[in-house]
Assembly symmetry: C3
């Protein structure tokens, strides 16, 4: 990595000490009008989503919180270095010098690129080794850079928040890997595939930071101006709407009317995913509410019915339900984007606004909104195809028995890869009566047993 960075990566001109000269030559008078100062807060919001959001969302398992937040950290830190190289290769390689020039926008893009692999991790949580995760990330980031190049540059799609390139791709990538790695005897770890009270509260930290900063995610790399405002507002509204439908459906799906934490932790975010493509379009505020309303319902139903169905009939084990949170809403988001693009009119956008929003410039100056809608739909299919095919291949690679994956009865267990502290409660009590050495927890039955002979 260091060698590759040494060969290829350089500072862009705004980050280079030649900037003072550059400024004078180009008559730039102020530093603070620099894009950096307007991108940086959004960058940090996205950064929080990647590390705290995804990380803590995956702490919900009772004995895999270390792995959830720790391996997420590892994947993201590895992925973003690799992403700077891969995305740089496609987007900011200067053919004249053979160098890649990076700035703060590269950092946002690298975070986005990692998100695809982190989503895939959600489907694999607890069932793979850290080395396998590095492989998933290595290929995931590479595939991401290629499909992103095809979709955004060749097909000239708009995808501000990455419904297609991030969520649909990442979701199906993870699902395909998980499908290839199907474990028929996973039920042996069933006792650990669930939450405890406090692990669910930890997961809410992840949910909330994802939820709050999603408007930043969807608007982080849009052009400055009206599109960025709209992206933030639309995402905010779709998310708010998702929360209400998720709560309603979650409560209605149970005879007792009780809410399920899994739904609250996940389906509340579906509106943000589905808004990823259309956020910068003129979808209107009530359109955003409708998107959030529908995806909240679909996602909650996904957790209730589709995930068990996939597991039973398609042999697909999806730990976090990324199908319901990322794959399906991402795909829907791609098609919503296509429909909204195809329905764009000059009266709604204004002639200049239309050119500006869809970037109908250069060789794309004559593309109509209908054609754009078609390309958006095609882009969604490309993302899904990359996810499924790429995931299947990576899955096959991961089946080679050299990666140290956990046994079927050791899944969802931090003990395999972490030094886990003994639980406080299992400390032997200081005072012991009648030679009763009382252990707690697992040992309580034993302690009862040991007292039996006295009776």
């Amino acid at each position: 990595m260091i060698i590759l960075f040494g060969v290829f990566i350089r500072y862009d001109e705004e980050s280079d000490a030649h900037w003072v000269e550059f400024k004078r030559e180009h008559n730039i008078t102020s530093d603070i009008e620099n894009d950096f100062y307007f991108r940086y807060p959004s960058f940090q919001d996205v950064h929080v989503m990647i590390f705290v959001g995804f990380g803590f969302l995956m702490t919900f398992l009772k004995r895999y919180s270390f792995g959830g937040v720790g391996f997420n950290f590892l994947i993201a830190a590895f992925g973003l270095q690799w992403a700077l190289l891969m995305q740089g290769w496609f987007h900011s390689l200067d053919p004249a010098t053979g160098k890649i020039y990076i700035g703060v926008e590269s950092l946002i893009n690298a975070d986005f690129c990692c998100a695809g692999s982190l989503i895939a991790y959600g489907a694999l949580l607890g069932k793979v080794s850290p080395v396998q995760l590095m492989v998933v990330t290595l290929f995931g980031v590479t595939l991401f850079a290629v499909e992103e190049y095809i979709i955004l540059t060749l097909l000239h799609c708009r995808d501000a928040g990455g419904s297609m390139v991030i969520h649909a791709f990442g979701g199906y990538y993870g699902l395909a890997i998980s499908w290839v790695l199907y474990r028929p005897n996973l039920h042996q770890s069933k006792r650990l595939n669930g939450s405890v009270y406090h692990s669910d509260v930890f997961a809410m930290i992840g949910t909330l930071f994802l939820w709050m900063f999603w408007p930043s995610f969807n608007s982080a790399i849009t052009d400055h101006g009206d599109g960025q405002h709209r992206a933030a507002i639309n995402t905010y509204l779709a998310l708010a709407s998702s929360v209400l439908t998720t709560v309603a459906i979650s409560s209605m799906s149970q005879k007792t009317g009780k809410l399920d934490m899994v739904h609250i932790q996940n389906a509340t975010l579906a509106g943000g995913v589905a808004m990823g493509t259309a956020a910068e379009f003129m979808i209107t505020p009530y359109g955003s509410l409708i998107v959030g309303f529908c995806t909240g319902i679909i996602s909650t139903f996904g957790y209730l019915y589709i995930t068990p169905f996939l597991e039973k009939y398609l042999k697909l084990q999806d730990t976090c339900g990324v199908h319901n949170l990322h794959a399906l809403p991402g795909m829907l988001g791609g098609f919503i984007g296509a429909i909204v693009a195809a329905a764009a009119t000059e009266s709604v956008y204004s002639a200049e606004g239309l050119i500006n929003v869809f970037d109908f410039e250069g060789s794309f100056a004559n593309r109509g909104v209908g054609t754009q809608g078609g390309f958006q739909a095609a882009g969604t299919c490309v993302a899904i195809a990359f996810g499924l095919v790429g995931g299947a291949i990576v899955g096959l690679i991961l089946r080679i028995p050299i990666w140290g994956d956990p046994a079927d009865d050791n899944c969802y267990d931090d003990e395999v890869y972490w030094e886990v502290p003994e639980d406080e409660e299992s400390i032997p009590p200081v005072l012991e009566y009648n030679n009763h050495m009382i252990h707690k927890h697992q040992d309580i039955s034993e302690s009862n047993f040991s007292s039996n002979p006295q009776k």
Copy 2:
């Protein structure tokens, strides 16, 4: 909600695709000088306070963490949609078109508006059903929009951080509801009305995010310029001072000198509440320290003496002690603002500064600082009156026995509204000796009972 948004809500011009045309017509050359880019980071800080701050602050109960953070999420997500309509109706309705135009500042205001209902939730925590909370929010947001219109627009008060319109109103609103919903047999849930070790640590997440971002809260919607700087600096100082006095009083109040987590979680924030109105005034740095100093003392004493007093003599059950953190400091903050406004002089503010800070323009051009002080005090009284009367009425509505509120011995218990995971420790042990099926926790007494016949 979707229909109402469809009828009324539109993007404002900066968020509309016509912006490119608008810019050309109005000779606006740069997007990034747009207010959006300077409001958005503050908006996100406020957003974090609303969802993570208030949410995690309410996780302190041992078995109501799901409800604390989850219902807070629900209320806020519902409330902000309703707030966009209600506040829009009073503030940004264009009479010509009959439409409400929203931008990023509307989002901040909607968050503020929700805060009132979330504060009220603090008094009701654990004692009401989610449906009741929706009713509290529906009326809370509506009342907020009306009292805000009266106080800020008709009375022309200044209230940057909402000591009056948010904290005094929200606090007394919640207290009045709680008073009407008094439960004489609440002691039946007493075993659950307390914290455990880790729930107190979760609550510190809420405290710290509230504490850190309070300067953003108090400065988020002030005019750009010196007032915004002052609001941040004054709030920062008042909060720092509150921490020290809270620790001192908390320690001194116990014979053993031990600190109480309840005080650290709450009273440390009182300085920010009390600074809500006066933050943008020239209260001076040491004035801010004095405000923080006094309110830290008052709030801690409130937790020590006033809350038990209210419960015993006024039949008022206030779960989170919002009286000590919001109602009382908010009221004080309103009156501090009145005093500081009345004491303003041209020598301290400069003639232009005085006009600028108090917005003495248009029909208020001739208002003097003394009059302004009087109106500030009147505004505080209006906020309290709205809270008390509105809360009493909403409380009566909530007494109708159709809302599914929990029984007296089921309060503070997530089991009523959530699918709560079985605790790890209560998993039956794999090996069973002598047919002893040992359950833990709730079942331990039972398990002992079941083993009795053997003796």
Copy 3:
């Protein structure tokens, strides 16, 4: 404190209501070009690091989470008030008026100043009383202001992220205090000097917020322009690199290949510490990776070998291992900065860039890069000397037996200074059969004892 603020502290002109007049007189047309709006988001990031980052990083102990996050809160809130006075005295005292003028940059600097004392707290965690911590902070902030003045102003060193002035100083300051306060019988508290599962997850909150916002920390007070961009990018890369080497070394160091949470929580941050001085220099992206690579290794080895060595042979008890995370990487960072400065050339920086980066202006206009490198190295030594000598003296003061420090067998125990809630499980069950009063936990052995007579 209030009196001192009353005498000395005033708003700076941008925060004063005279700003409207000032603007008109100085032909300033826009408020939003004001530095405030570009510093404020970075300030909030640093603020989060200080309170949530450091605070939660110190919650890892099983029964000292209240103390970790609570005393961190206390120290920081006290320290930043004192820092405004002390740093103001050296940096922004106007000799004409005898006043200190504060603005938002003062707040960032005050947070930085507190960081030194918070680092020192890491070495003392669990072994000192809150009153002792106030003394540590009082002297720590004062010493910080002096050494910062010597290093940055007199020696004219560059130290954007404070490798020298914050980390090396703070680390050695804490270590020296801890060395003087050596407790030979600390093993009596050994049962509490460790983590439990959920306390390690809490600590990851601290780690991640520190990790994510470190680019803001290292770039918060650099000049606007290329240096600030570079600082963010370099820090981001060094941190990413540290994560990978930490994971690799942590895994390789165990026979079982398991990861240790202590390493993941701490050594992953070492790259940010070591980048503190050189971040704004042209260290190149791969240079940043190398720094992160090496310090990740060194820091992890520190936790594995140096901390046990220090404890055994140097009688130095370092609870959080600040030697490995702050002292050593800070010192390395200072020397890396010296080397990179000495190696600076006009071809890499451009002539103007060189002047700009190293601020070779005024009386330092003729200083060469070699000389600058020497001064940077000298600055590092000054910081270490201040830390060691200052810490030793403060340690001696703290040995006076008037400060209420905990007994050797009460260290790492919140019970000494906090009202700790009884654990949930120790609630007596509601139903009691056969007069079995079943307590749980501490009481379980007792309860077994009490049931013995019946048999």
